[in-house]
């Protein structure tokens, strides 16, 4: 004799169904909510990155910054230009926002030389008269500070690409990064090569048609419209080329290394 076990599926009353679905839904809701909260707490207290070229950010957030950089670098193009304006739109009272690296009062503009590392050992030494010989490029663009303010400013100088061509630094320009620092080495920036070679990147010696003033980085400063102001180094002392990220002042303080616009 065979017995058939009949599976009886209990028919739930609406009340029971409601209870059951309430239970499952709210349980899921609170479990996932708790997990999200836990994840957030973890991220908020995640360990800080090991200080190196970049420092001061938490490990996962630095990773995210670097990943976002990779994504947006795909969209970067030398054809994408910062918008330019007529000269009369430029500010006459140009904002000064920092003096790190240019604080020494005994700095002598006349004895200033730009040192460029060429090849393995050679140091190219260039003075202002040399630089003024090179083709001059002017730009009136909206300067953007990482703090969030912006100002239309008028600068002129030699395009970095023209400088590189003139001084036969084409081999160096095949490397991945450019590093620049103030003569005292206290402020320094690292730039990815494609941003450095952007047609609007200028070694500037004039502001509003006049020589750059000391607080704006005389005699020669970097104007790089595809970057935040923090990368627009004042008073360039040295330029070097590298395949590794050169040190960068603000990237050591938790800021994005790329800081591209």
């Amino acid at each position: 004799m065979k017995t058939y076990k009949k599976k009886v599926r209990k028919v739930l009353t609406p009340e029971q169904k409601i209870k059951r679905r309430n239970f499952i839904s709210f349980l899921t809701f609170f479990v996932l909510g708790g997990a999200a909260f836990g994840g957030w707490k973890w991220l908020l207290h995640a360990p800080e990155e090991t200080p190196g070229v970049t420092a001061g950010a938490s490990k996962p957030l630095r990773r995210a910054l670097n990943k976002s950089e990779l994504f947006f670098r795909n969209l970067f193009s030398h054809k994408h230009l910062a918008r330019t304006y007529p000269i009369d739109r430029a500010a006459t009272d140009v904002r000064v926002n920092g003096d790190i690296g240019i604080e020494d009062e005994d700095f002598d503009q006349d004895n200033w030389r730009l040192s460029v590392a060429r090849g393995k050992k050679e140091i190219l030494s260039v003075n202002m008269a040399d630089i003024r010989q090179l083709p001059k490029t002017e730009i009136v663009f909206d300067f953007k500070c990482v703090e969030g303010w912006d100002q239309i400013q008028h600068w002129a100088g030699v395009r970095l690409t023209d400088f590189i061509a003139h001084y036969k630094l084409l081999e160096e320009a095949k490397m991945q990064y450019v590093g620049m620092a103030t003569p005292n080495g206290e402020y320094y920036v690292g730039l990815d090569m494609e941003s450095a070679l952007h047609p609007q990147t200028i070694l500037a010696y004039e502001m509003n048609g006049q020589p750059v003033t000391p607080e704006h980085g005389a005699p020669l400063r970097l104007i790089i419209p595809v970057k935040y102001g923090i990368k627009n180094l004042k008073r360039i002392g040295t330029i070097s080329f590298s395949n590794q990220r050169p040190p960068d002042y603000w990237a050591e303080q938790g800021y994005d290394y790329y800081s591209g616009l």
């Binding site: 909510g33 950010a57 938490s58 230009l81 703090e147």
Partner: protein, 217 residues
Amino acid sequence: MKIIKEKHPLLTRWTHWVNFPLLAIMIWSGLLIYWANDVYTITIAGHRIIRFFPDWFNTLLNIPQRLAEGMAFHFFFMWFFFLNGLFYVGYTLISGQWRSLLPNKHSLRDAWQVMLHDLHIRKTLPTQGKYNAAQRIAYTAIILMGAGSIITGLAIYKPVQFSWLCWLCGGYHFARILHFTLTIGYVLFFFIHVVQVIIAGWNNFRAMVAGFDVVEE
């Protein structure tokens, strides 16, 4: 007899509740960023009515001196905020949910009557579907605002690579103002939304978590 009536699809609920903490994080990290250049005020006839933000507010929320951290959070969570929004919009369009969400030609008039009703001026409500006319307008507007935040955000995040977008937003300076204003809009929306949800009661709230309404038949 009580019966179950399905109301909100799973994906609608999911994206709604994922958006809540994401938006909170975006607003918080946005505050950390905004602090570094906190110049916005509401000034009427020379009188400063509101300053964004007073010192007590910044101190209370521990905002000062955290720009780098704010940027790092903002540019991480922006991806999820964007993807979640995209997911919601995509689902709403494909599933046909948009039919009950988008305003129609009666919505403006009806929304007015809903508001009068909610303010206890009018006794009756116009007929409605899943969402009343005011909700249709509000829930569509908030999505447009979200799109606005993404667009203005991108305009100030990569103003050179997306210079056309920046131009579309009235330039870098104005795009930042728009981006900020939209955020204030979210905060106002949030308060009204929460009050309305509390007033609407348990059945309505449960529908946003469990997906169903209980109706008597």
